[in-house]
Symmetry: C2
Subunit: 343 residues, 2 copies
């Protein structure tokens, strides 16, 4: 391994923190930058506690090129793992310009500074949302992309296209696009986990807040889909599996790869009701729910063909649904208000 | 008409200058900004000569927000006609990051400053390239978009999506997306016209430089397409018709329109050979050509269904192929080296 560090943008966030832990444990030197708009320094304190290392952490916004340059001058960066970005689908519909500026403008700024410093390696945090409404299942990496209906999803798609075009034009680049399915769970220590601000947008943080008593009941949007129990089916992946997928992608990239795309999912789909039941079993707490109508834009089923990552990266998800729920519950019950002190 | 000016970004360029002339002649107050990367102040001197007015012109880059703010402080802007951007397909493949930064980053910067100053009206210079390879002909505005294969085309498509999303989120916006087919020709005065740097990428500037003796012969890429004479068919529109389409779009937007899309084309397709022959007839000069193989990415035929613009904007192209060639020849023969002094 060449001497230098892996720069993790958005490293104080949910997938970021878990990936930093796995990188440190795999022996990498890691530098974190995060603008802390949607994360806290407390999460990095916990990462340091878990790993027993002090990960250098900079409070930097991607759009601040001078601050980026300063970081690249201070640290020899080998590869950038790029998690930074706004990620709330609903908010992106209300504030599209903010999302395009932050996610696309921020990525362009980062790429420019990388070029200035001769850093041509990136692993990008993309999403299965780039596939839009599935035209077949399971979704493999050859599935058409671009049918996103919300600005958040479009920013992921546009950034993928920008990175692909750069790799085509400039052969020194190595870029791995990782398309996540639905990350859930938390580190086994219970010290870090997903910490949404306000009412959670995603199912499992919502379920766990119902179980811990912060929210009254789960609303299930639609029980008349063409699925075994009528509720929507998704591919949930343990965030630690996902983080290890990034380490595998980094080892793959180090050999020189050009631009490559991998799904990170389990290949298995679970329904909303199955998830709620599994969480009840893991937590021993009831998760009451009510059925409501379908939400516009929701689809019946979505799950990955994850065989390419297994074949090329030698990685596959190992942690099952019970473990996802158990680890999420440990995080939620130990930290009922997330990284914030109870108010 | 409310008191204030129309800001034309990229106003010193080919379509920009012609549109400024038509706006001034229609009685609008116009302010031009252009970073002059691909244009010269000489073109604006000619515009002033044609119109008999002094159009305030600022040498500003869209990415310079402070300079933009200064312009918006000095001039009350009613609507922005947004032409600024890099536009060479081949260069965009070699320098994608530059194209994404300039076109997308520049547009985001412009939109942010517009919002700061409460300016919510924009007419955007888009392109038929957003349709990708046609799935039917003629192409109407309902044709699928997004199949662009080069970064230039993708920037047009991404900006369209950004503008649509903003209009959905913020109802005070009025945006007209004008999808140009192939602008050719020049102002009847022969004082302004297309002035490509280096060897022209587009057919008609190439043809006219062959006729004037700057280039040896035309290369025709493919004579075995499924078209009447085997060469590619496109929808060429006189740049003055196109410019008048912008004035019509502005009058339409002033009534409040939300986000609307219009093709600007003639609806008629002409082949490469037909164009060369028409130019020979107009110029009285021979246009020798040789046949070469097809170019990757080229399609057989592309032409507009322009009926929506006629119905909604009350605009249709009036100038025929002979006039396109005649006006282009006047510009080319009066200005064999464009806006530059012969060296």
């Amino acid at each position: 391994m060449a001497t230098g560090s892996i720069l993790v943008t958005g490293g104080a966030g949910y997938v970021g923190t878990h990936t930093v832990v796995e990188l440190v444990e795999a022996g990498y030197d890691v530098v974190v930058m995060d603008n802390l708009v949607n994360a806290s320094m407390e999460s990095m304190r916990r990462v340091n506690e878990i790993t027993g290392k002090q990960v250098p952490t900079f409070s930097i916004d991607m759009l601040d090129k001078e601050a980026l340059r300063d970081l690249f001058r201070k640290h020899k960066i080998l590869c950038v793992m790029h998690f930074a970005g706004l990620k709330a689908v609903g908010e992106s519909c209300n504030k599209p310009l903010l999302y395009y500026k932050t996610n696309i403008g921020g990525t362009i700024s980062l790429l420019e500074v990388m070029k200035e410093f001769g850093v041509y390696n990136m692993i990008f945090s993309s999403s299965a949302t780039v596939y839009g409404s599935p035209s077949y299942l399971p979704i493999d990496e050859k599935h058409p992309v671009g049918g996103c209906t919300n600005p958040y999803g479009k920013t992921k798609y546009f950034i993928e296209e920008i990175l692909k075009d750069i790799c085509t034009a400039e052969k020194q680049w190595n870029v791995v696009l990782l398309r996540y399915f639905n990350p859930v769970g938390a580190h086994v220590s219970g010290k870090i986990g997903e910490d949404p601000q306000g009412v959670p947008n995603n199912l499992m943080p919502y379920v766990s807040q119902v179980a811990v008593g912060r929210l009254k009941e789960l609303t299930v949007y639609g029980d008349d889909y063409d699925t075994p129990d009528g509720t929507g089916v998704r591919d949930y992946i343990h965030v630690v599996d996902l983080a290890q997928g990034h380490v595998a992608a980094l080892k793959y990239l180090e050999k020189g790869c050009g631009c490559k795309v991998f799904n990170l999912g389990t290949g298995k789909g679970y329904s909303v009701i199955e998830m709620a039941k599994a969480f009840e079993a893991a937590s021993g707490k009831p998760v009451p729910y009510k059925i409501a109508g379908r939400r516009a834009g929701d689809i019946a089923s979505c799950y990955a063909d994850a065989s390419l990552a297994e074949k090329e990266l030698g990685w596959k998800a190992k942690l099952d649904l019970a473990k996802m729920c158990e680890d999420l519950w440990r995080w939620q019950s130990n930290n009922p208000t997330g990284f914030r002190t109870e108010s």
